[in-house]
């Protein structure tokens, strides 16, 4: 089964899959990705949805998008006030 992820979720799921790969080098990427997606879902970061073609896809939840947006604003703010 192929997983369809939105852009935001694909980026962060890939980060976690790479981390998981370090600890479980012999596990297939597909198993790692589905494990990461389930964990994201349980933490309220990812949600499933029905795509236009009727298959299931995954996307970042509004909570996760807000979390990322806040983090980006904080980072920008820190950068502007950084004392180099």
């Amino acid at each position: 089964m192929k997983f369809h992820l939105d852009k935001t979720l694909a980026l962060w799921a890939d980060v976690e899959v790479q981390m998981a790969k370090i600890h479980s080098p012999n596990v297939r990427r597909k198993i790692l990705l589905q494990s990461v997606l389930c964990e994201f879902e349980e933490q309220g970061l990812a949600m499933r949805y029905r795509r236009a073609n009727g298959t299931l896809g995954w996307k970042a939840t509004p909570k996760f998008s807000q979390h990322l947006s806040d983090a980006e604003l904080d980072a920008t703010d820190d950068l502007q006030h950084a004392d180099f």
């Binding site: 790692l32 299931l56 990322l68 980072a75």
Partner: protein, 162 residues
């Protein structure tokens, strides 16, 4: 746009899943999103806020239906809320009841919203928002009536097409 992947959501735990599952923890997160949408509807005076709540309900049940497990999950969500599920579970109605819990909604309102969502599940283009779909067809009451005519019980549902 994210410029640098230096921030990680950081999974607090990780375990391998040989199967794609929909755990109680995942269901609880969906329930939290539903109750949040219900609370937002309760505190809002905006005319369109009901569509935001119904969209959250619709999106959840829509993927459950695509996964072929809507009725079972609707029963699960009622049980998670401490509500005894009825013998015959209608997923949209069950999710609305669970979202509003402990508020007891009027049966006619649940029935109307549920008919609107069932009608949208059958005829809405996935690219179109629920709010646009319903408004184009005359609003909630008109959509509920369309459901009754086209998909509901009774002889008119079998012969009449609009």
């Amino acid at each position: 746009m994210l410029s640098s992947p230096t921030f990680s959501p950081g999974l607090t735990r990780f375990r391998l899943r040989p199967k794609m599952e929909y755990s109680n923890e995942a269901l609880d997160e969906d329930l939290t999103r539903l109750t949040g949408a219900w609370a937002a509807l309760q505190s809002s005076r905006a005319r369109d806020s009901v569509y935001e709540f119904l969209t959250v309900v619709f999106d959840l049940v829509d993927w459950w239906m695509a996964d072929g497990k809507a009725k079972g999950r609707a029963r699960r969500i009622l049980i998670r809320q401490g509500i005894k599920p009825p013998e015959v579970t209608e997923p949209f109605g069950a999710v609305i009841i669970a979202a509003a819990h402990p508020t007891i909604l009027d049966k006619r309102m649940i029935s109307k919203w549920s008919r609107v969502l069932r009608y949208a599940a059958r005829y809405k283009d996935p690219a179109q928002s629920l709010g646009e779909f319903v408004k184009e067809r005359g609003g909630l009451n008109a959509c509920a009536a369309r459901y009754a005519r086209r998909l509901g019980r009774g002889p008119r549902a079998l012969v009449k097409k609009d």
